[in-house]
Symmetry: C2
Subunit: 490 residues, 2 copies
Amino acid sequence: MTSRVATAISIPFTEWVDANAERFIERLKEAVAIPSISGDSARRDDVFNMAHWLDGQLKSLGVDTKLVDLGTQNVDGKEIPLPPALLGQIGDFTSEAGKKKKTILIYGHFDVQPASKSDGWDSDPFVLTTVGDKLVGRGSTDDKGPILGWLNVLQYHHDNQKELPVNLKFCFEGMEESGSEGLDDLIVKEAKGYFAGVDYVCISDNYWLNDRTPVLTYGLRGLCYFSVTVSGPAWDLHSGVFGGTVYEPMTDLVTLLSKLVDNKGKILIPGVVDRVPSVTSEEIKLYEKLDYSIADIDKAVGAPIALSSDKVEVLMGRMRNPSLSLHGIEGAFSGEGAKTVIPAKVSGKFSIRLVPDQDPKEINKLVKVYLESEFAKLNSKSKLEVKPLSDGKPWVADYKNPNYEAARVATLLVYGKEPDFTREGGSIPVTLTFSDALGVNVLLLPMGRGDDGAHSTNEKLNRSNFIEGTKLLGLYLYEIGASINIDPKY
Amino acid sequence: MTSRVATAISIPFTEWVDANAERFIERLKEAVAIPSISGDSARRDDVFNMAHWLDGQLKSLGVDTKLVDLGTQNVDGKEIPLPPALLGQIGDFTSEAGKKKKTILIYGHFDVQPASKSDGWDSDPFVLTTVGDKLVGRGSTDDKGPILGWLNVLQYHHDNQKELPVNLKFCFEGMEESGSEGLDDLIVKEAKGYFAGVDYVCISDNYWLNDRTPVLTYGLRGLCYFSVTVSGPAWDLHSGVFGGTVYEPMTDLVTLLSKLVDNKGKILIPGVVDRVPSVTSEEIKLYEKLDYSIADIDKAVGAPIALSSDKVEVLMGRMRNPSLSLHGIEGAFSGEGAKTVIPAKVSGKFSIRLVPDQDPKEINKLVKVYLESEFAKLNSKSKLEVKPLSDGKPWVADYKNPNYEAARVATLLVYGKEPDFTREGGSIPVTLTFSDALGVNVLLLPMGRGDDGAHSTNEKLNRSNFIEGTKLLGLYLYEIGASINIDPKY
């Protein structure tokens, strides 16, 4: 344990957090009650309401805020307003002493995934419900809980008239669950404006690997998502009348999809894995150390279907190797029962998770060339179209940076154990935008557990994660502050 | 032209039909106005209404009818009443002279496919609308038009107090578009009861090969429909978190589906085509004679995608060879756009059209054995289940039977040309039930054209097909009657 100052303040701050736990949970209840579903245009007003609610909270805690209009979004041919981004700052940005402080940019999102009782929730998803240690409700862990963790930290300083150990900037958005529309442009535009002077970025929007051990995350996989369309007849045909007389798009599509990946996860597209470095023995040690077992993955997927019985291989499969998944087919019969249709136009959907040094542009090209050459071999009268639907680069940060060191020490102080250093298999595109546009170290500092069910029914945040997580965020700021020898007066 | 009697009566009957055309179209309008959609339980009352309307029509024409309760049907866990079958008879079944007459059993169905303006109809599907020669409306050609053709024939004899040349029995159902639930049992039960003494069956519920040449149909393909399910995780997974760590059901399923058929239509399942006889030169001549061209199939499917440029091969692909079509996948992502899901349980749907002497039971077994052995080769931790969803045997009739000969001559009289003798690529399961249960020759005598769009938007029956088709049905009965030397007094 190498904290230089945090121990000096940890007792009053952490005690105060414990004493105010019920008040914090009440505030989380208020936030969860606003059904700010960005993916449902009928709920757009609620996303706005959520922005205003959060703006009010920040203002009451002394944060200087502004709501930034991000323009409109086309939904089913209709332009509807995008929810605003909420920017804020608090601290001393002018005095000599203040300028010495580090400036941390905090990102979070106040929109949520869709949810309704009929999806199978045990309680109203928009009424925060306590079940044992669990706080159940949509947005509890993704991402209202973590945002409110920051509010809790601010509350301590506000109520006790204490100066923050760092300067803070905030960037909260309301479209994360719907592609973060409009945000990238804002970040790039404000990199040398509103976000000038930022030293570190901290994002609390992912999860522990399990339900036991806190985590710092320093990598994310990228993504290339494809639609491969085979089309033939001008309309759907009856298989009785036309089966055996024409080229059927489904036959070609299924053949193409079968040539992308084998069931052991090996990607069959030439060149795609060429830029993935071989694993080093040092790396293997890194994965060996992680608190994870085959039992964890069995539990997470509900069946014994891991590709390997070696935990290191499974972890590398998730964190440092690319993967290809087949998601489905658009345009084919997808209902229950039997329908004797020859679908006229079918689009296979698949995606590749990318790791350094894979480059989305190169991958898009390799996939297109491969599918077109495989299709040519089929000598079909159908037509092929390969379309990249979206892509994002992989991201890896230097986890020996002071930003991570501060979070590591804070974790040790709060949880009494070293965090696991992980890479995530998924993508949080804004991470890369911050990293590229601001050119600073970005830290992913999760609050919730691996079993929180962020996008599922009965999403929850453990009460203990909310409260200890609040302490973690606070102590992280103190450790950052301490790292430049700010006087430990707090 | 070898008519023995029909010419003697063709002038007054056919002239009378022409003179009453508007009246017949008005009656078709009434029938189309009843939205008797058997597949929509909310419309079940309308199917009953349609049964009662048709019952009233038959009674008014002197037919002795009865509505037969077929029990109930389970729809979404609720038992709802099945529409009744409508049985009827007219003729002289008791006197010596009467008993000498042939008895024809006529089948038709009074239910229709779903339809709503929003599907893309140019007019209200339940308002019969005249567009040039076309009578547009749901059920116009499938199968209300043909049923009403029979009513028109009865109308002539009723209004002119003429004796029918044959005895008639009717079997009309209201569930054909929904699997003919309950009907098979009734036919088998009444084979030696209500249907005793039937000499021939005539079904008018299919279509010409094109829009030019009338058709008599003597064969139908059978069907084996399969669902092949691969399942792994207990719930859908996020491809970011789990891609590269577990066996993915979609990968195995797509591999299995790719091993069923090649894109030239060749079925890859060992044994499946073993019972299909080699084509003879006599058979080839049969297909050469048919009024059909590659341009016809190009037009029917809206694109130049025929498997062959030889019309005989295309016709044999539809009529006398088995085919395998992939219909789709249940449980995978099937929407627009991008979703990064690893589906937990996916069911591929495919079916094989059967021809003599393929046997559904044997095919079901061959498919199961093949898929299980291919799946075993994949060494997957996922689970496989192969489920036959439905099957029906192929059917071929003797087209040299007097039943066909009568229809051939009637066609010649009405249309001035020989009919094409065709086999249908699809299935009309009740055909086989009649054939097997009654042990008599079954004739498929279509009224409508190949471009009627039976299950599509803007379904139509050409006015000329309705009127000439009425004449065809009438003259067919006269030819059957003449074939046993009934005095040509009509």
